[in-house]
């Protein structure tokens, strides 16, 4: 007997036929005494259709965030009622509950809400009655009772947070991939499905560009220490378990994965006086506009004149906003020049195993050297090493590194 929260995304409930299939599967797999909470998203393209409708009123409907939340929360309300009917049609007791009804309390930042607290007494009550509880993901309500959506990755976050509040045994995220891979299979065909990965590694992978899980839900899992099982909607095979630490079997891997990111721009401010506070000058100006800076390298240009070069990366998406700010700071600092390079990419390795294993970085750099890939900058964290390289070398570099650490494939 276990309490399990299962999250199904929009494509998994994209039609009434698919909804019936989800219900059948859940009933088949349910063991006697299991308590099941389903967290579901809006059906397939429902959200897009609702946004389209809102655009019929105003071209830019997202300026009315509260009303967008009022509108969009109907999407999940439709899918939970239909999935509950499907359970009942198959003879399984079930009940649907909106985000507000499961006690999902959020702040009032409409369309990008954060969960403040969950008081799932109603969920517990209905589970005790032997019902499968079908919950609307992606949504909660603020202190006034107004509907608030949780923004990107919101349904996963709902599911994990609810699992935490219910002290569930696990949270299963059903998705269109069958688990977390050691790298993006589109870039690295040899990528290997991981049986397990720690919260920290998963967060580091996500931060460094891996797209399967949003960091929010992983952080939530870490906070509540709820194992998150990422698995396929279409098969019964186990996927990848995200948890605090490995079981024995998986300990052998020194690294967990290779992440990559090509939404990177490199900025070099050349020849600035190497005075205290110079880095602060540059980066606080960017921080004021919420532009994140990633890899930072400071190198000495002329030791006698005490002049230095500052090199750092930002997301390409932020470049147009960052450019005038950087030019202004460079001007103020009497810099010689500002160089911007957009054709760059970042390739990273992630793994808690590297903590006690010196030489991992050397192996990574060696793999890159053998593949004739030059590195522009390097940055490291406790559980990751990232290299900045030319954008057109990304595929070669990522595959070479992956081969080095996952040779068996």
């Amino acid at each position: 007997m276990a309490l399990i929260v299962k999250k199904f995304g929009g494509t998994s409930v994209g039609s009434t036929e698919k909804i019936i299939n989800v219900a059948k599967r859940i009933i088949e797999e349910k063991k006697p005494g299991d308590q099941i909470v389903m967290v579901v998203s809006a059906m397939g393209d429902t959200t897009d259709k609702l946004i389209e409708l809102a655009k019929g009123i105003n071209k830019n409907p997202y300026q009315y965030t509260r009303e967008m939340d009022m509108l969009l929360t109907t999407g999940e309300q439709v899918s939970i009622s239909l999935l509950t009917m499907a359970f009942k049609t198959l003879g399984q007791k079930a009940i649907s509950l909106t985000g507000s009804m499961v006690g999902m309390k959020t702040d009032s930042v409409h369309t990008k809400g954060k969960i403040l607290d969950i008081k799932p007494s109603r969920v517990k009550e209905e589970l005790e009655k032997g019902k499968i509880v079908v919950v609307a993901g992606f949504q909660g309500a603020d202190s006034k009772g107004d509907p608030v959506t949780l923004g990107r990755g919101g349904s996963d976050t709902s599911a994990v947070a609810l699992a935490g509040a219910l002290k569930a045994d696990a949270c299963e995220i059903y998705t269109d991939v069958d688990g977390i891979y050691s790298a993006d299979p589109r870039l690295i065909p040899d990528a290997r499905k991981m049986k397990e990965i720690t919260y920290d590694e998963m967060l580091e992978m996500a931060r460094l560009g891996a797209g399967v899980m949003q960091p929010r839900s992983v952080e939530m899992g870490k906070y509540f220490n709820i194992p998150i099982h990422v698995r396929s909607t279409f098969t019964n095979k186990p996927g990848t378990m995200i948890r605090e630490a490995y079981t024995m079997e998986e300990k052998d891997f020194l690294i967990r994965g290779v992440a990559h990111d090509d939404n990177v721009a490199k900025i070099a401010i050349l020849g600035v006086p190497n005075n205290p506070g110079i880095a602060h000058n540059i980066f606080s100006a960017l921080a004021d506009k919420a532009i994140g800076v990633d890899m930072i390298v400071q190198s000495i240009r002329n030791i006698e004149k005490n002049v230095t070069d500052m090199v750092f990366t930002i997301a390409s998406d932020d470049l147009s906003q960052a450019k005038p700010i950087i030019d202004e700071v460079a001007d103020k600092l009497n810099a010689i020049a500002v160089l911007i390079e957009e054709d760059v990419a970042k390739v990273s390795i992630v793994g808690a195993g590297m903590l006690g294993n010196p030489g991992i970085a050397a192996r990574m750099f060696g793999a890159l050297a053998k593949a004739n890939v030059n590195m522009d900058a390097i940055s490291t964290s406790e559980i990751s090493i990232s290299c900045l390289i030319k954008g057109d070398q990304l595929k070669v570099a990522a595959n070479a590194i992956h081969k080095e650490f996952f040779p068996e494939n």
Copy 2:
């Protein structure tokens, strides 16, 4: 300065274009300081589409009444968010609130809920901030917070009840007809639009077959003594005011209208012993199955044998369910025969004015006689007189009566 509740039905908000037009009209007509509450239904065919979707899960989705309510309440939630965006786009402050959020407390009879109480503190709060408050009609929430729909005529009922709870100056029901007519214009081309009608007359008209307003909302208006203004979505002209009593001008009319009903079946149980309890025997058997009995005529067939005929009418819709019950009772009572006639209709006049005016009935019967219409049965209430006639004479009969009492047309 006035507080007015305005209700717009599904066709009035059937497209984003229509929604924008409604918003424009309301802003144009709003006087400075007016407080406006909008009660709206789901857009056009939204409810039908949602029911269709549910039928994709189960052919008979209405067996799951709670889940149907969860599903169908999304319809109004979409229209209130869109109408609110339309107001904001036009520069008018506005906010949308669901049935649950306006404190519309209902019982738990899903799909046919009754309003138990309204605590509209949130509505008042938002009105005080100068906002137009856009409320989802047709819905409330029970004591558990579960969504409950109010069934047929529910949006009108929401609007009138909310007007009552807010002590509004009036409740305006916008519809596709421009008011209440003295008769159905499809049957009686001479029908005259009434400026005013009392709650009791309107209720009697509805009971006797007039379709514009559901009795529930009129009863609610009477309970709260809120004037209900039934008017057109498409024009600015005043419609019909339903209120407690007339203003002077309208006092002249002896009757308010001619109602008709062809959903009538006549049943005659012939030759039953005229003992105490016989009527009880027949009608309690029907009442047990929630079949309403309307006109009842008992006539003596044979005074020496103390044998009588019982004649009454029921709705044609109920006939198939009523038939076996009636046959069983007739059998038990040793009746001679049961005769059923389906080609009958009821034509009625309604008006509080007839109370102090004897001779109204005589004028009605005279008009029928002149038109060669035979009466099968007559029934009266304090403010109405009804005649049962042959179905194919309905049009002639109704027009003759209307002409008698509204000769000026």
